[in-house]
């Protein structure tokens, strides 16, 4: 690979482009601060529902997924071709995966786990589309003056004034704004980071998984459905996994207390599953987004290896979310009810 001269030329050209960009457009890393917000920014309000970039992207993911599902299965044929082939390959791979994890029960969990996988995968990849997270608006708060009279969107505070006819800014496009923001924060630094930034960069698209609500929703569904399946399989006996007073009531104090304690630990770990599911996905994708932005503002081709890493991470997180859901569901439906912490130890 390294012997390929074309590759070397490409790398050197990229470096040259990076140097030129760096020389003529001296962006600062300060711009990153504007876009890294844990809570997603509101683009506009739909009725009383605030629409964020992540919600917008989620709608895109939804449309894409449904369109793909619709067109790939519109006319099913015994000898598959085209999109049907792709869809069937995906489904077959997922079947193989979940069959190896959930055993003979896979068919029961399949729709939930497969949907989680596809949704998370597409959500993660939407955040990696060039432009997602870096093309957007500058939203101005109350203290800045917005001027839309002469067909331009402007914002202004004590020190700077920036206008754009479209109102669409590319991140790093408005150094004056960045400086404003920088000054603003510097002025506020004694009181800590500006509590209410009055101007913020709002991207149009952002990975839905970098909004904590989406992983949280999936985690809630995953854990909730795990309980449902456990109860379907074992009936009320399932709850002895968490509340096992059987031996205590029989008079066996020592082992009874151990059982109760194990049940409590199990209950806590079950609740903590929601937290770990949520923050695993959110943390990975959000951190990936931040790293890509920081690298983008450091040097031109620096994000490239990280982009590859994020591409891999995006897949792994989707895989892990679905596989863990399947594994937990299998543990919940396994016959032995109160098994202590073995679920986590096994898998």
């Amino acid at each position: 690979m390294l012997k390929n001269p074309k590759l070397w030329i490409a790398i050197i050209a990229l470096f040259a482009v990076g140097v030129v960009i760096k020389l003529f457009f001296p962006f600062t890393t300060q711009a990153v601060r504007a876009s890294v917000a844990v809570a997603p920014e509101v683009i506009f309000e739909l009725g009383s529902f605030p629409v964020t970039p992540t919600i917008l992207t989620m709608v895109l993911v939804f449309i894409l997924l449904v369109a793909f599902a619709f067109f790939s299965t519109r006319k099913m044929e015994l000898v598959p071709s085209g999109m049907q082939n792709v869809m069937e390959t995906i489904i077959e791979q997922l079947i193989g995966l979940f069959e190896s994890i959930a055993g003979p029960m896979w068919a029961k969990f399949f729709s939930i786990t497969a949907t989680i996988f596809l949704l998370v995968l597409l959500s993660n990849y939407f955040g990696l589309i060039p432009g997602a997270g870096s093309i957007g608006f500058i939203k101005v708060g109350a203290e800045t003056h917005t001027d839309v009279q002469n067909g331009q969107v402007c914002f202004q505070n004590e020190t700077t004034h920036a206008c754009d006819p479209s109102g669409i800014f590319v991140l790093g496009d408005a150094p004056s704004f960045v400086e404003t923001y920088d000054l603003y924060t510097k002025a506020q630094i004694a009181k800590g980071i500006a509590e209410e930034p009055h101007a913020a960069f709002v991207p149009i698209l952002r990975a839905p998984s970098s909004d904590i609500n989406m992983p949280l929703a999936l985690a809630l569904i995953s854990v909730f459905m795990t309980q449902v399946y456990g109860m379907q399989k074992q009936g009320l006996k399932y709850w002895t996994r968490f509340f096992s007073f059987g031996r205590l009531l029989k008079g066996d104090i020592a082992f009874g207390l151990i059982d109760v304690f194990v049940g409590i630990v199990e209950l806590i770990s079950e609740i903590f599953k929601i937290v770990s599911f949520t923050f695993r996905l959110f943390g990975n994708i959000f951190a990936g987004e931040v790293i890509l932005l920081i690298m983008a503002f450091l040097f031109a081709i620096l994000p490239l290896p990280f982009y590859g890493l994020e591409f891999f991470v995006a897949f792994i997180q989707a895989f892990v979310f679905a596989v863990l859901t399947a594994a937990f569901m299998r543990i919940a439906t396994a016959e032995h009810g109160g098994g202590g912490h073995e679920g986590e130890a096994h898998h």
């Binding site: 844990v38 995966l97 190896s100 994890i101 630094i189 004694a190 800590g192 980071i193 937290v275 770990s276 923050f279 695993r280 943390g283 990975n284 951190a287 792994i316 895989f319 892990v320 596989v323 863990l324 594994a327 986590e344 898998h347």
Partner: protein, 77 residues
């Protein structure tokens, strides 16, 4: 040192220290999985899946560190 500086240092330390243990753990898991795959290449498929699940559990600790770091950094408590 003012409170803001202390906060940023705390946030950095929270994730920095939390990453050490999982880093070692993931390395051990991957090395064990690779050895197992080397000995028994037919089982590579299942081993990969199990390895990822193991890595995820080790990684969860780093994620908790990240969460704490975010909570501190964004002044949530």
């Amino acid at each position: 040192m003012d409170a803001e500086g202390a906060r940023l240092i705390a946030a950095a330390f929270a994730i920095g220290i939390a990453a050490i243990g999982p880093g070692i753990g993931i390395g051990l898991i991957a090395s064990g999985a690779l050895q197992a795959m080397g000995r028994n290449p037919e089982a590579a498929g299942t081993l990969t899946t199990t390895m990822f699940i193991g890595i995820v559990f080790a990684e969860a600790l780093a994620i908790f560190g990240l969460v704490i770091s975010l909570l501190i950094g964004f002044k949530i408590f």
